[in-house]
């Protein structure tokens, strides 16, 4: 267990990070996901030692490091703005921690070269930090943090300073690099796609409270509340009341009709919110190939996005977002705003939460 947080909290007076319990496994890529001001950065700074905890404790490989200053923790950070040392060149930036440890020169050269090779910037070793691009700075910061193999590597919104095109590319590379170095990573991000793509597990936070910890799939498919469900991806919501249950299939009565929901072995409250992901609903031109649930509506708006088309469909008392994959759309008649359509989904594809 490389890193364990036991009721770790921080009180800034105005802002409070509620006691946080997390166990981060060896070799895991863990994400702290949440909107700004949710306490994710505070949690990361507590792990790095840049803030002192108000209460609780922090264990690194079994030993208590709660009160240890940053330089005595074998944890390194990739800072949001990289914080490369401007007075040193790329090589010396990466070599910084090894030089502090007074390693022999041959070892330093070898390991720095190895780290630079890993992030594919061997050719930049002699450059000044102001002679390289943002993406390259990102790589230097990463190389600098992994060169002496810390127990845990912290990443503070590492991709947010890059422009969007580069961000997507770096995300893939970051994933590949992490697989190669096999360290334990903790990353802070407010970008749910980033968290979904990179993490093995993640914690979703809001207002200083950790709402849910789980794998990307578990968080996406089985969120604990409507905030988590909405933060991780778009959803449609139907409020309703369970009127009957037959072998795990519940009938939910709502203003726009009665729907079937399949939930096995879970006790559900009477009043519920039915959450539907736009990609789990299909849009139909005619009433054919219907799944368990059907709802009628009229197209209000549509956006063609290349890989998929996003529709906003108006029903009697609600509006739904539905995605249609391009391959599927091509097979069918094109739709225009105003067209009458049907939406359908399977009874097991909805998320059920107690009504707020």
């Amino acid at each position: 267990m490389p890193l364990e947080l036991k009721s770790l909290s921080k009180d800034f007076g105005g802002f409070r990070l509620s006691p946080l319990d997390l166990k981060i496994e060896r070799g895991e890529f863990f994400c702290l996901l949440g909107p700004s001001g949710c306490g994710k950065t505070t949690a990361l700074r507590l792990m790095g030692g840049f803030e002192t905890a108000t209460s609780g404790s922090l264990f690194l490989k079994g030993s208590d490091i709660t009160k240890l200053p940053p330089h005595k923790r074998n944890i390194h950070t990739v800072f949001q703005r990289y914080a490369l040392f401007p007075h040193l060149n790329v090589f010396e930036n990466v070599a910084f921690s090894l030089r502090l440890k007074k390693r022999p020169l041959s070892e330093i050269q070898e390991r720095v070269k190895e780290a630079l090779k890993l992030v594919e910037i061997e050719n930049l070793a002699t450059r000044k930090t102001n002679q390289i691009s943002g993406g390259q700075s990102q790589r230097v910061a990463l190389a600098r943090a992994i060169v002496d193999r810390p127990d845990v590597l912290l990443l503070d919104e590492p991709l947010s300073a890059l422009d969007p095109a580069l961000r997507t590319k770096m995300r893939e590379e970051l994933k590949a690099i992490c697989k190669k170095v096999q360290l334990t990573f903790v990353m802070v991000t407010h970008d749910q796609e980033e968290a979904l793509q990179l993490s093995d597990r993640m914690a979703v936070m809001k207002d200083g409270i950790c709402l849910q910890v789980g794998t990307p799939k578990a968080i996406y498919e089985d969120p604990v509340d409507s905030f988590v469900a909405r933060f991780i991806g778009p959803v449609n919501e139907i409020k309703g009341e369970i009127v009957e249950e037959v072998e795990g299939v519940h009938a939910v009565q709502s203003l726009c009709g009665t729907f079937k929901v399949k939930k096995n072995g879970v006790a559900l409250p009477k009043h519920i919110s039915l959450l539907l992901r736009p990609e789990k609903m299909r849009i139909l031109r005619t009433k054919a190939n219907v799944h368990d649930n059907l709802i009628e509506g009229q197209i209000q708006e549509l956006s063609y996005l290349g890989s998929r088309t996003e529709y906003t469909v108006k029903t009697k008392d609600n509006a739904f977002k539905v995605f249609e994959q391009e391959l599927e759309r091509q097979k069918k008649r094109s739709l225009n705003p105003g067209d009458k359509v049907f939406m359908t989904w399977r009874s097991e594809d909805s998320i059920v939460l107690p009504e707020r």
């Binding site: 200053p69 330089h71 910084f96």
Partner: protein, 294 residues
């Protein structure tokens, strides 16, 4: 040669880009600084008559006199004094700058204002203020005697220590401000990154903070070192006119000995030394500047 060529090119472009509003200041500089400077340089090659007048006879005699052992010793002593005083300013001023840069909000403004408040008072008055503090019957000695820390007054006034105290007191802000602004500009996450990578406070200070503010420290040091070289009021009033410093010797040549050509030669020599210091600084700045620009 190429260096000179670069210089003249950059001077030409500089002249073209001077905004209209700056012309007043530029003409002022030329009229009140540059022209008098060349008059001094010119005069250093002339001759003094027995009655203290100036004879237009081109010669190098004044420089030969200046390179006399006695005057060279004065020059060296002055350089040494200025060096020690600059170093002391650094020792005293650096923590002040560091403290101010770390403060946030009103304390910062307050500190900076306090630093400059003495400058609202006339320079000579401030020095006399120090005289009254450090003298045998001064506040400091009275306190020391009162609390029986010493039996007889400590002699500070009219010693070298008195001169240092005066110099440090007067020049400190000129060092603090450049160092402060360099520290202010330093990205605080650099220090965090340094801690993060395993450096303690002291290592961070020497390996990250100092290398990134050294230009500010150097500029601040020059700001105090150069005027100290020509300083004569402080050594005169606080040193008791016992010791001959270059500034004092020069002033004496002009106003007591009525030997303007010799005084001019000394002044020219001092200016050359200062010029070297400035060129050195410029070179340094240019080197780091190139690295930044690329």
């Amino acid at each position: 040669m190429s260096y000179l060529k670069d210089k003249s090119d950059s001077l030409q472009t500089a002249a073209k880009t001077i905004p209209a509003s700056a012309w007043f200041f530029m003409s002022w500089l030329v009229l009140m600084t540059l022209i008098p400077f060349f008059i001094i340089v010119g005069m250093s090659f002339l001759e003094r008559t027995e009655f203290g007048n100036i004879r237009f006879h081109f010669n190098f005699d004044n420089y030969l006199v200046t390179f006399n052992v006695v005057y060279l010793k004065v020059l060296l002593k002055t350089l040494w004094l200025a060096l020690i005083a600059t170093a002391s300013c650094l020792v005293v001023g650096f923590p002040v700058a560091y403290y101010l840069a770390k403060q946030a909000g009103p304390m910062k403004q307050m500190g900076l204002i306090l630093l400059f408040i003495p400058f609202w008072t006339n320079f000579i008055l401030r020095i006399y203020g120090i005289v009254s503090l450090l003298g045998n019957n001064g506040l400091l000695n009275q306190m020391l005697l009162h609390y029986q820390i010493v039996d007889s007054p400590v002699r500070i006034l009219y010693t070298r220590v008195g001169v240092y105290i005066g110099l440090i007191y007067n020049y400190l802000p000129f060092l603090v401000v450049p160092v402060y602004s360099a520290l202010e500009k330093l990205d605080p996450t650099l220090r965090e990154a340094s801690f993060d990578l395993g450096a303690g406070r002291i290592q961070t200070f020497f390996k990250v903070v100092i290398p990134n503010i050294k230009e500010g420290v150097f500029v601040g040091s020059l700001f105090v070192f150069i005027p100290m070289l020509g300083e004569y009021v402080i050594p005169d009033l606080l040193g008791g006119a016992k010791e001959a410093f270059l500034g004092k010797v020069m002033v004496d040549q002009f106003f007591t000995m009525q030997n303007w050509p010799l005084g001019s030669a000394m002044a020219t020599l001092l200016s050359v030394i200062m010029l070297f210091a400035l060129i050195l600084q410029n070179r340094w700045k240019k080197n780091s500047g190139e690295a930044h620009a690329a």
